[in-house]
Symmetry: C2
Subunit: 300 residues, 2 copies
Amino acid sequence: MSARVLLPWIDIDVPEGLSAAYYDGVDAPPADLGDVEFYVLPYDRGPEPPKLIKDLPSLRVVQSLSAGVETLVPLLPEGVRLTNGRGLHDLSVAEHALALVHAAQRDLPRWFAQQTRGEWVREHTRSLADSRVLLVGYGSIGQAVERQLVAAEAVVTRVASRPRPDKDVHGVAELPTLLPKADIVVLVLPDTPATRGLIGPGELAALPDDALVINVGRGTAIDTEALLAETRSGRLRAGLDVVDPEPLPADHPLWTVPGVVITPHIAGGSASFYPRAKKLAAEQLRRYVEGEELLNLVVQ
Amino acid sequence: MSARVLLPWIDIDVPEGLSAAYYDGVDAPPADLGDVEFYVLPYDRGPEPPKLIKDLPSLRVVQSLSAGVETLVPLLPEGVRLTNGRGLHDLSVAEHALALVHAAQRDLPRWFAQQTRGEWVREHTRSLADSRVLLVGYGSIGQAVERQLVAAEAVVTRVASRPRPDKDVHGVAELPTLLPKADIVVLVLPDTPATRGLIGPGELAALPDDALVINVGRGTAIDTEALLAETRSGRLRAGLDVVDPEPLPADHPLWTVPGVVITPHIAGGSASFYPRAKKLAAEQLRRYVEGEELLNLVVQ
């Protein structure tokens, strides 16, 4: 008897000993999933795919392709293991942080607006090279951001929740002395009670004039009203892939502040994610069929 | 007697033994420059500053802050040395190449357009990570571009005018076999008879569908009409800081092609250039006054 697996994409390598059914999270799932033991959740398809878990009586493993799986844990039946997509999005998010930095430093919105008018008007811009960047959040995404910043010859100062002097990482408690020396702050923080509102009116006020605030972690790390005040006055600039609230309402004043660029929480899902996700899924299936320990176990 | 130097900025360190006059290339030059021996040309200020050379009877050295000095050579009186700004712009240009790559891969014009309408509509984008990049031009700028591409985990193939197999650099003669395997082509080439029209209809046709063409070298490297045809059809995309002709006329059809982003030849002059230029100027003045050999001598 061959065990069945439920997969979001048809081009995942399925090892011998398993047969596959497919559910992309958009069309209806196949009928007759009573023998599915391993469910790789469709990525970023809203609340429907996780609801299917309760309809899979033979289920043994749920593989999420996201890093955050808090909302899945309560849906897991007793004895079903949960693995996550830790690391799959790191490069995609890191790359988007760089895109936002370049967009702001190189005045890209201005040139694209000129382009629509056929206007060749030149002006020198800021640059990333030689800028002092305060990188807040030093997990795997933060480290990927750092490698790209260093290659661009920016001067990076590392900050994490807890100081790690052996790795030259400062703690967030040192922000008051670090912020005044930053040309650019890049936030790569998860949403936790400790990170909520970490960058408030006082922290923003501590930044030098014309500093750039980049956020690719979670919107809650920044006090939106305070950021609005400091960017509206023209004192600070911002590049945001995440905001609070999200989605940002159509009539929110942040949309139209000059010096603020906003993308709609798309940092994690770019093309480089998919091959990595499919490779992880294939490796997990191989481990499952060969009885090896699964990667990225969150609940076992 | 103290020798006089003519400088574009007041915050250049002037060594003892020299006195300075200032000319920014915008306001009129000071009168009475008969004793100026060393002239640091204002950067990117058009044709007026070089014309001043003929009015400086004591002149011994002209320091340009550009890399290309072809137009200056004919203006030099007998016995006047010329030094250039080789290297000062490398990082600025390289960084702008990355900005254009990110803008195109991450659909930044789309998000900025959505932003003007207060629209939170999400879609996954292409990425730079894992992309196959053909880097054409492997001087100091090309190498700076490469470091940033590699940090973003792109897969880089190096091309230069002449192959250097010891450094894994292919020659331009190999382009026909290399282009079909490129997701992104980055051109970092000077304007020479050999580079003019290097990327013509055949080279563009050899690129796979949806490939991205980036140019931060000189516009003449690409056949504009051929690029227009391939981008208008939607088959290729482009990110251009340089074009041919330049400035691009207001009614040129390239301005409005979807999938083409254009900046008005601003790659080289961003903020990181200025401290580097001032440092070079100060070092050259020191060498001049101490009788040491000057850096970046082009004509001696």
